[in-house]
Amino acid sequence: MALPLSVRFAWRDLRGGLKGFRIFLACLTLGVTAIAGVGSLGSAIRAGIDNNARNLLGADVEVRLSSRAATADQVTWMADNSQALSLVRNLRTMARVPDGGSQTLVELKAVATSGAAAYPLYGQVTLDPPMPLAAALADQNGLKGAVAEPALLARLGVKVGDKLDLGKIQVVLRAVLVTEPDRVSGTFALGPRLMINNQTLDAAGLIQQGSLVRHKYRMRLAPEADLELWRKKIDTAWPDTAWRIGDVKTAQPSVKRFVDRLGLFLTLVGLTALIIGGVGVGNAVQAYLAGRTETIATLKCLGAEGAMIFRIYLIEIGLLAVLGIAGGLVLGAALPMIALGVLEGQLPVAADISVYPVPLVRAAAFGVLTAFAFALWPLARAREVPAAGLFRDIIGGECRWPPLRDILLLAISAALLILLALTSGDNARLAQWFIGASVASLLAFWILARGLIMLLARLPRPRKPGLRLALSNLVRPGAPTAGVVISMGAGLTVLVTIALIEGNLNRQVQSRIPDRAPSFFFIDIQPDQVPLFDATVAAIEGGELVQRVPMLRGRVAMIKGESADTFPAEKDGGWFAHNELAFSYMAEMPTKTVLTDGVWWPKDYQGPPLISLGAHVGENLNIKVDDTVTFNILGRKMQARVANLRKIDWTTMQLNFSVVFAPGALEGAPQVHIATVSAPKAHETALQKALSKALPNVSAIRVGDVLDTVTAMFDRISSAIRASAAVTVIAGILVLAGALAAGHSRRVYDSVILKVLGATRRDVARAYLIEYALLGGSTALLATLVGTIAAWTVMTFFMAGEWVFLPLAAGLTAGGGIILTIALGFIGTWRALGQKAATVLRHV
């Protein structure tokens, strides 16, 4: 019986309209939209990957080898154990317009085109003009065919039918490559795609010992084949082979990881919006209930118990929360459709648009818990409204503390919210940091608000009436000071943090690197080509060989006597134990090398193998000086002792290796050289042409192009970050507006009384200006401090980058916050000042 009655009372109360709940609804809807939208988008992309896993991998199972082909026995084994085996080879090389025309680095892909092994095993290649791929790539009239992405045609200024020099041969462009089923866009590509067949690649003479070629043996298995069984079979047949095996179940792990990471980051941003919104929810509920104090007291006088009061308003807030959350879910579910229109072509794979229940349920849970956690305190306080106040007309004022039960309930809902945040992504560490930082920031702003109020209350009252009024407005009971400080502070902190991180990254990418960066990287220099390479560089005016080092590839087999497979791949440093690595060897320690432990070997060292290891690897995998690491280099196992640990600064654009061997171990192994060369801008093209003519197999990578690619990727990520940060700022503005609006009627009353007593509008306006400037200024100061700490933490611990405080970025953001507070506050005040005194006083 009791519940329907509270529902009836709640419904009657809500009939008056949702006026007091606009900010409540806006905050909740915004936060839920952000979380649901981000989750739905992530699910759509993941589903896109899963549904197209076969096409994206181009096979049921793929065996990958770098810089070397599988042996004949291995190829036979693979052919015997599949329905079809198709070889795809990728490498970076130069494509040139014949007769000294322009040239560019291309991502070359050589494919099989005959019979059951024809590329692609899954999916379709589309060409323009339409024709079969095999025909486009075939030899016709003595000319080998090729197809290329539109970007290549644009870059070299060629069209279909034109010829290109490729290594030792010429190819003719027969068509434009429109779709490539296994291409993951947006990944790190230094040049446009050029596709030829495997015979053409062999004829071009581009593959030499140690060349950076990726061999992909793609297989189609019988539909009923058991992938795990197949993997076990290949592991048994070829136990110690340093290849990587991918299958449809593990397709595109890097893209998935990227989507997961970005998704987690965006979820955290959404959560920030929701938490800031939660402050707004709390403020709105408090303001709403403050307006209901008389009703609550009256109901108590008429015999309603505290529990009934609690239920009535819980139902009201619950109903509104359902409304706000439902709105957020609808908008969030629709967000991928809107976002994908904007992000067309920017995503790595085509997303599969649909309604995904899991992210929506999670967003709803976040919404419910946030609304409940932030509304509970004002609700519990409402239960304690003393009804006796009705006799004295001093409703409000002091409330008793809510009982322990309510405080426990609050703690439980906060704990559930934290638990949900912790279990929402795969990066618990980031989530922990986030939660810790959020709680600490909210606490810091709460303490600041209390401290500010206490400090201002203790200040001697100034003689100037404007200043005195401003101070009293900040410290009087029911002033919005705490709400404004917390809401604006949290929003501004996010902004300052992002501005500083972005500024630091920009600084590293754009201003710092070009001073030190060389003009070119050259890869695939054969040992016997070294003298010619060096001479060609020296012959160009201003050409300078910055660094040239030998390079070999291999994998780690054992670390400190334990198999590398026992190190988890997903942990920091896991790549070292699981990926193929590039090594070098050198006698002398390069200049500016910083050893963190151990010593460099003597120049003429000729003992058992020693290595110098990157300090970050040592730290992540707990490898110390004198520990042993066993490498598998082209099938040969070699155990080496760690001689020293070395700090590596990857941003210098120097040739750096995580593993550098001492002389004596690797000189005899097949290897290539890589080099960095600098040249004056005016001679860069001449240098590139001279080298590609003398050494057609050597590929040049323009550092400028790499930087452009990195910058473009960075820009894409930072616009995503900025867009999501905007959500938190909107939440902050909503809360700020709500907090200020809550005090509006009070402000109208104050300004009318002041006007009655003879104050001009200017006097009143000045007082409010001082009030908002004080409020905005102190909040911005703390937000800058907290934001700087957060940005420093992220840069230092998560991005391992160099940190510099950027006063302009922080100052502009904080200054913007002050102006916003003053502006929003002033809009409200202006309306208050415009009220006619007589009208207001009649209703007082």
Binding site: M1, L5, T295, T298, L302, G303, F391
Partner: protein, 243 residues
């Protein structure tokens, strides 16, 4: 202890009530030893200057405020033994309150406002009885009006209907005419005294004329009760604070 000479059942029994509140400026003694008995069917007027403790005594009698010391027994219930929720149930059953500022619930119609106490008590005929109660105060035609659509006098009549609708044992009225002009105020008092014959009432007022309508009148000064010559029964019959 002096006893009231009025025969019949004692409905309200206040014994040696003290109430001290802490304020920023120090402790304030609001009630300083109040003894008072009201028998069933008796109407009692309480007069006295502002701040003398009249409203606080009313709040204590309604179980809305707890005394620092002393005993409160109303309708056979020792209010000191009841917790917050039990006090709410006690009010629901035994007490009707009329305020100076009406305190109608602004989001409810006149009809709903009057029905609230019955709804809280789980009365299935709440709205029918509320309609009758509004008819008793002459507001049959104002059922669907919200408080803001009613005049001050009409609002107070709705408040009267609300206080009486549950047929409580005791009506507590705190300056019910304080916010009304004299003519409307007089009409309200007429209504209040006319609704029920067996009315037990504690009426706080500043208006001696209104007070004289009561069976008995006491004066509150400085947190204590003292006799007054007002009222329809001899002042000597009033039980007074001894301390």
């Amino acid at each position: 202890m002096d006893m009231a000479s009025v025969s019949g059942e004692t409905l309200v029994d206040l014994q040696d009530l003290h109430l001290t509140l802490d304020s920023g400026a120090g402790a304030v003694n609001i009630l300083r030893g109040v003894d008072l008995q009201i028998t069933r069917g008796e109407t009692l007027g309480v007069v006295g200057p502002s701040g003398s403790g009249k409203s606080t005594m009313l709040a204590v009698t309604a179980g809305l405020e707890r005394p620092s010391s002393g005993h409160v027994n109303v309708a056979g219930k020792d209010l000191g033994l009841l917790n917050e929720d039990q006090l709410a149930l006690f009010r629901r059953k035994h007490v009707g309150i009329v305020f100076q500022s009406f305190h109608l619930i602004p989001t409810m119609t006149a009809h709903e406002n009057v029905a609230v106490p019955l709804e809280l008590a789980g009365d299935p005929d709440a709205f029918e009885r509320a309609r009758e109660s509004l008819a008793d105060v002459g507001l049959s035609d104002r059922l669907t009006h919200y408080p803001t659509q009613l005049s001050g006098g009409e609002q107070q009549r709705v408040a009267l209907a609300r206080a009486f609708v549950g047929e409580p044992d005791l009506i507590l009225a705190d300056e019910p005419t304080g916010n009304l002009d004299s003519e409307t105020g007089a009409a309200i008092i007429d209504l209040m005294f006319g609704i029920r014959r067996d009315l037990t009432l504690m009426l706080i007022t500043h208006d001696d004329q209104v007070a004289t309508r009561c069976d008995r009148v006491v004066r509150m000064a400085d947190g204590k009760l003292e006799p007054t010559a007002l009222g329809q029964t001899p002042a000597a019959d009033v039980s007074l604070a001894a301390s």
